[in-house]
């Protein structure tokens, strides 16, 4: 039983750490605001969440477990909400995704061709 717990928590911790690191790399390397925010969102929610679940499996104390559950609930509530608000504010203030330039041009072409 012990070995199952250790392997499970180790796996979760590893995947969580990998997601956090990849989120950090994504923040630096992705081309525009929205994709970067997507990377950070992954770090916030899935990475931190998996690490917390891994720690929960490891914890023997009920108090520690309860505290971790609370932190997990908090991150699950707040992480996606902040990403949502940020993206919404950016879009509201007229920041378009990088490739949408081509998109809108393509749309315009379609419109003009249909008119013609």
């Amino acid at each position: 039983m012990d070995i199952v717990i250790t392997i499970c928590s180790g796996f979760l911790l590893l995947v969580g750490s990998f997601l956090c690191i990849s989120g950090g790399i994504g923040l630096l390397r992705f081309p525009d605001f929205y994709t970067r925010m997507h990377a950070v969102g992954v770090t916030d929610t899935l990475g931190a969440g998996m690490i917390l679940v891994g720690l929960m499996i490891l914890s023997t104390d009920l108090l520690v477990f309860a505290k971790l559950v609370m932190v997990l609930l908090l991150t699950l509530l707040i992480g996606p909400t902040t990403s949502h608000v940020l993206a919404k504010a950016a879009f509201h203030n007229g920041l378009l995704p990088k490739d949408s330039n081509n998109l809108s041009q393509a749309k315009e072409k379609e419109n003009t061709s249909s008119i013609l």
């Binding site: 509530l77 707040i78 909400t81 949502h84 608000v85």
Partner: protein
Amino acid sequence: MIDIVLLTLLVVIAIAIIRMKDLFAAVMLAGIYGLLSASFFVAMDAVDVAFTEAAVGAGISTLLMLVVITMTGSKEKPTRHKPFSALFVVIITGGLLIYGTLDMPYFGSADAPIHNHTSPRYIKDSMQEIGIPNIVTSVLASYRAFDTFGEVVVIFTAGIGVLTLLSVARSKENDDKIEAINDSMHQQHLVIRIISKMLIPFIFLFALYVQFHGDFGPGGGFQAGVIFASAIILYTMLFGLSTARKVINQTFVQIIAALGVLLYGSVGIVSLMNGGNFLDYNVLSSNPITGQHLGILLIEWGVGCTVASVMVVIFFNFAGRRAFQQHKKKLQDKESSAC
């Protein structure tokens, strides 16, 4: 190691704030600066201070500055002259201040006067004299109660100052208009409103925990008051000022701010009446330890009330001034378009 990283980041952010021309970015950086200082305090084991810094430095003061920026515009004025004389004065003052610190004992040296008789006394005897595990609270609320009283009065005075300078008499009729705008915005901010509605009760609960658990763990009146106020400010930001004013009566909040200071002072008066010194809690009850507990609980409660309500009053007045200005601008626009 973590100290060095945090300090380097602090210096980098401070320089960035000075160089930044865009005030909005500067305010955001100031918020990050507050958060970093909070983590620095945690690393130095000063969790009580970190609480306050995280809530005030990163939260409320950033918000207040943002509100001000929406009123004044977010670009720095270009400086035409090079302020060399000011730089000269600053360098001389700074040099004198550094020269003044040379007499002080070296940072962290073990034979500084404070480590010889004050700190050991607090660490050794506070458990018998005060009977609460958190030494910070016993120093703040019992040994140094008079200083803390001064701090509370300072906060109260700040609230009065903001009220005097910024309070706007609001008219009833434009409340309905603002409400109409609020209803139309209800669709816009749906997600964040629902989430914050879920979170606000827990923030209040946490504030109360910090308030009443201050004797045993990190926390106390200042921290609790700030957390309490930040929940109310979050509500105000998301649901509009007029809605928040309907929920929380501003006059009532002002009275609470005064009552907090009054409660603190009255504890001192009661201990005078019972034959002790001002704010000497030993005489509050037949058992000195119980007296100390009672006194600390009461004055922390007073501090919490005053801090929370002063923060709320300051935010309400800043935001109210902004709404007033926008309303006036709208009227002017209408007049000019009519012409």
